[in-house]
Amino acid sequence: MKFLVAVAWRNLWRQSRRSLLTASAMGIAVAMCLASVALVDGMYGAFADALVTQSLGHVQLHNGEYPSTKQPWHTIDDEGLIERIEALPGVTGATDRLYGQALLGDENDSTGAILVGITPRRELALSPLDERLVEGRFLADEAAQEVVLGKGMAEDLELSVGDSVVIITQATDGSLGNELLEIVGIVSSGRTAMDRGGAWMHVEDLQDVLALYGQVHEILVTGPDPDASASLLAEVEGAETGDLLVRTWQEASPQTAQMMGMQDASMAIFIAIIFGVASLGVLNTMLMAVFERTRELGLMKALGMTPLRVVALVLTEAALLGLLSCVLGAILGGLLDWYLVTEGLDFGDGLEQMGVTFDPIIKGEVTLKGVVGVLVPLFFICVLAAVWPAIRAARLRPVESMRGL
């Protein structure tokens, strides 16, 4: 074996320029794949974070009627439920939200607003709105008749931090729910609808306005991994959820799940194309190597080398070539990854998915899975591409090959 590797290694360097060229070409392919995987993983991470964790949670709880009716009185009685969920070992965060629609403004200038009642510390753990503030601060932990407005709405109504604003809505008991709120912050959340017409307030303040004391519309639960929502669901259902509707984010928003799935599929296709091209390079190199050494291989066989040893020799050469490509690719890819992770890639404006505008600079994310997922298949493709040349070499008839050429 050691002998085989030594011979294969020397053979590789007999045509050092060709071997290096092939290894470089494949190294570049590896580097491109590594960089693309890092970028797509980064993008996927950003999407998963914004579209799944922050908007949908990993598991959602609703009143069974609410998702279809959206009627404000189809609520969850929050009594102790969220505390029970938070105490579960597999839960990293949970937030309770109450939604409402109201007229928001002052005497003459008002507009329809989407009100989101939240428990600030819980909500911030899930979606860091406080990092998206363009002015002011986020809501205080205790209900204090404060509101944080979406940037677009604040601009439309010419409101700024420190101003007071009235909300008025039809409460669920038929009365005219209203409240005077102080604007403490203005946020650019990246969510188109919320920036244009959203307002965040303390859940208790909104419960008062809507006459929905102690009620919320949804509870979003997150675990460490959005893809592991099914096991989280099983765990949450153990927390005495009663007749509430408990769903994974994939069940709650199939179109988001589909979109996230497409990312994986398109990446797989991209990698397959690059690897396909790379494998043709290996095939070509190894065929050339076998052809030009017909005489030599014939001699070796005449001297008693078995066909199996010939196959092993050619495959070892290909494997060494693959290894070399991987090393070159890893070095070059590592440099690209380093740039992507530290600097990121600027996508300019308009990086929007499903109503969410993303930070235009997407930073790469290097995972062990991503790196191994590129290097290992490439190595095996190198070896696989050499199978045919190896078999050709093994079938050579010693006499003919030594006489010919």
Binding site: W73, L103, G105, D106, E107, N108, S110, T111, G112, V166, I168, Q170, A171, T172, D173, G174, S175, L176, N178, E179, L180
Partner: protein, 237 residues
């Protein structure tokens, strides 16, 4: 257009207009001051609101809630097509934007639009008298179809008036011809010197268990009210 239409209107038409005006003018005078109770029953809540209302002509009115205590002082001012709500809890007045005019007023089955509408049925609709008392049923039934550009949401309206010329009901249909809601005029009695229905019952067709019932406790007509009664300043008091 209007002129041509008027010129061909027959004496019968004038008679129908007079009957329609009876419906428009229930509880309406040159001016009025009234106390009324509104009972609302929906699938989710029942509530009773007592209020005082002032009106002048067709385009000015002010309603102030007296009970329940939680909503005491909440007031609605209407001047022309505009409407404001005064909210004592926050001491602010909010104009009701056009987009919300179709919304429920104080949780009832009456919309903001219903309150603001000052125009007469005979102005917005073309009408046909489909039944007269001599037909045996002892009532007038008038069918109204909106004029092409009338600012109304209904596809058809049917007004029923008793032989004694007291309004009985008004039914509102959508453009597909389905009944949307009925308004029934009940408890005819003499209040404020007039014989008139003292209770208005609004029943939505899609939820017949629900209703809004407005009952007049007391009403005085042709009271001298200054225009300033219907101002934003007055709204706050």
């Amino acid at each position: 257009m209007m002129l041509i239409w008027l010129s061909v209107a027959s004496a019968d038409d004038a008679e129908i207009v007079r009957l329609l005006n009876l419906t428009d003018d229930i509880a309406r005078g040159e001016s009025s001051v009234a106390t009324l109770t509104m009972e609302v029953k929906t699938a989710r809540y029942e509530r009773s609101v007592t209020m005082k209302a002032w009106s002048k002509g067709t385009d000015r009115s002010l309603v102030v809630i007296e009970e329940p205590a939680k909503e005491k002082g909440v007031a609605t001012l209407k001047v022309g097509d505009d409407m404001w709500n005064y909210l004592p809890k926050v001491d602010r007045t909010m104009k009701v934007p056009a987009a919300m005019m179709g919304g429920s007023w104080m949780g009832s089955h009456v919309t903001n639009d219903d309150l603001v509408k000052g125009s007469r049925l005979s102005e917005d609709y073309t009408f046909t008298l489909v039944e007269q008392p001599q037909d045996g049923d002892a009532r007038y039934v008038i069918e109204l179809v909106p004029k092409p550009d009338a600012p109304v949401v209904w596809g058809k309206v049917q007004v029923v008036i008793s032989e004694a010329e007291i309004p009985v009901s008004t039914e509102f249909y959508d453009e597909g011809g389905d009944l949307v809601r009925s308004m029934l005029y009940q408890d005819v009695k003499t209040i404020g010197g007039r014989e008139m229905p003292s209770t208005f019952l609004v029943v939505p067709a899609d939820a017949p268990e629900e209703y809004t019932k407005i009952s007049y406790g007391d009403i005085q007509f042709d009271v001298d009210l200054p225009d300033s009664t219907f101002s934003l300043q007055a709204l706050k008091q």
